[in-house]
């Protein structure tokens, strides 16, 4: 009864191959001969999470009716005195096979598959022995090919069922994982993107200036509109032209300047000759904005006297360097990447690999505050 093991070996050898190749030369894994089946074992929680439908009773009806129809069609061709035994035996084997199939469907492990195969073999041997003992030796011999055929069919069905179910669960779980990952990413991006604190504080200033007919209201509203128009669809794209990113940073700093008044001054300098590089450069959206936001929230806002923010764009040797230097509070010891920076780092990594770098350090030349920079390849 090793016939089902042949396809078993063929199928099981596929996933085993890379491991064998990675090892020393070609290694034959005897475990697949003796104990074939999928290695992965799904926990109850994983199976529940997959949300896949359970065993359908439609399958039972389908299999049983097929066996019955086949049995009746070939009834006349079967050995006359054994035809009814074969038909009833076939139906019994089919219902047994279905029961085990259901059991394998719930938990498709190789232990279950091999256990079922072994049990069926023992059962068949026992039945044969009993028949011989009771004096039905000839009948037993005549039945043997039918029993062997039925068994091969049953065990093969179990085998494919186990494999199919494992694949199905694995694929579904992988799909769910990917989905969760996307949702988590989107949420992180959304948090990084719309800072409600920023929005409502801006609206508070705006509200007051509108109420008091202050001249600052108009430019502030225009900057806010520009900022929102650019940032809201921003994160749907993988890349944003640098020129657009600079525009977002300008409107952001305009808003903050209006809000903070004398506490903030800012400048945006482009290195002479970097114009061509800027025109062609693109980067993950929000990269520079995150640095500017950090300079405001961790540098300027906590500082009693405020300070200056210098945004600089430099290009050299096919690389683009963006700097945001603030003259504010400075790095607190033990400061670590906030949500924004970790996010930015991740997205840079995803797009440029090791080619992109991000750094945060104390401002150079004994100046107060800190310097954040990003370097990207421009090609």
């Amino acid at each position: 009864m090793t016939s089902p093991s042949a396809p078993a070996e063929a199928a099981a050898a596929v996933p085993a191959k890379p491991a064998a190749e990675a090892g020393a030369g070609v290694r034959f894994d005897w475990a697949y001969w003796l104990f074939p089946g999928p290695r992965r074992r799904f926990s109850e929680a994983e199976i529940a999470r997959s949300g896949l439908k359970g065993w359908s009773s439609g399958i039972d009806c389908y299999v049983m009716s097929n066996v019955l129809v086949l049995g009746l069609v070939f009834y006349t061709m079967l050995p006359r005195h054994l035809a009814h035994v074969i038909l009833i035996g076939g139906l019994a084997m089919a219902s047994l096979g279905l029961g085990v199939g259901r059991w394998l469907w719930r938990q498709p492990t190789r232990t279950r598959f091999n256990g079922a195969t072994l049990a069926l073999s023992i059962l068949m041997v026992l039945i044969t022995l009993v028949m011989v003992k009771l004096g039905y030796r000839d009948e037993a011999r005549d039945l043997l090919p039918f029993a062997a055929g039925g068994m091969t069919l049953t065990v093969s069905s179990w085998w494919f069922l186990t494999l199919y179910r494992t694949q199905q669960l694995g694929a579904r779980l992988a799909e769910l994982d990917a989905q969760d990952e996307r949702i988590a990413m989107a949420q992180r991006l959304a948090t990084a993107q719309i800072q409600p604190h920023f929005l409502f504080n801006t609206l508070a200033s705006l509200q007051h200036w509108v109420d008091t007919r202050d001249d600052r209201a108009g430019p502030m509203l225009r900057s806010l509109t520009r900022y929102l128009r650019a940032t809201l669809p921003m994160f749907e794209q993988d890349r944003l032209p640098l020129e657009q990113e600079l525009q977002i940073v300008r409107s952001y700093l305009d808003i903050m300047q209006a809000r903070l008044g004398q506490r903030l001054s800012w400048s945006l300098d482009t290195e002479a000759g970097a114009g061509a590089v800027i025109a062609g450069a693109s980067l993950p959206p929000g990269t520079l904005l995150t640095l500017a936001e950090n300079a405001i929230t961790h540098g300027i806002e906590p500082s009693l006297r405020g300070g200056h923010i210098a945004v600089r764009v430099k290009a050299a040797d096919g690389r683009l360097r963006l700097e945001v230097q603030d003259g504010g509070q400075g790095l607190t010891p033990g400061a670590c990447d906030g949500l924004g920076l970790a996010n930015t780092r991740e997205r840079l990594q995803a797009q440029f690999g090791a080619e992109a770098r991000l750094g945060l350090e104390p401002a150079p030349d004994q100046a107060p505050g800190c310097l954040a920079w990003v370097e990207l390849p421009t090609a």
């Binding site: 604190h197 929005l199 508070a204 109420d211 008091t212 806002e301 500082s303």
Partner: protein, 270 residues
Amino acid sequence: MTKIRTLIADDEEGPREQLRAALARLAPELEIVAASVNGCDAWDDCLEHEPRLCFLDIRMPGMSGLEVAQRLAQLAEPPRVVFVTAYGDHALSAFEAGAVDYVLKPVEDARLEHCLQRLRQRQAQGAAGTDGADGASEAGAALPAMPAATLELLRQLLPAQRPAMRPIQASQGREIQLIAPDDILFFQSDSRYTRVVHRDGEAWIRTALKELLSDLDPSVFWQVHRSVLVNSRFIASATRVDENTMQLSLKGCAEKLPVSRQFQGLFKGQ
């Protein structure tokens, strides 16, 4: 009727003036005695003007609104505090859960009115509680102090450990002198400078006293007067001079330091 002395603090002009205008419109019983532009000023203005009600923005440079509130809570007669915050602040969820007075920016009349209503109710309860004896004269001051729940919340929200105290840098001519906080007896603020008296003499620095506060460990350096911050390790004794006046004597220093009424609770005797 005496108006309730009120302080508002926000580091941004827009929200600050918006709140001032809204309060003027909705609560004529309040008198805005100070509008502070950062946490340090808010604290200092509280000592100077002794408001009975404070509207404190959470995120302010120098000291956060929460830190100011915590300091206020230790005064002899702490004012009532209402926090002002924008949606998205991490403290907001704690406020919503606890019995803390807060208003959201941008301030909306309806919500502010609701908050004021609550304060008026508390005031009425407080006035009834004080039995009317000094209730008449202090009708404006009868707002009950910060509830225990608020204090507990502040303890949870504020980080427990403080950064290590850095040496104070005082320039004397071309030389910059570094003074270890442990060696400092007290700070005293003058009109423009702060006097630093230490074991080996004294120095003058430009940083205002109120701005030093957040860099120094409050368990070591005690503020005993609006203009005096003393290292508690050097305090030898506190002497009551008359009903309102108390003086501190220091170890290794002949100078006597005044303790203002607001801080006399620090020296109770046991």
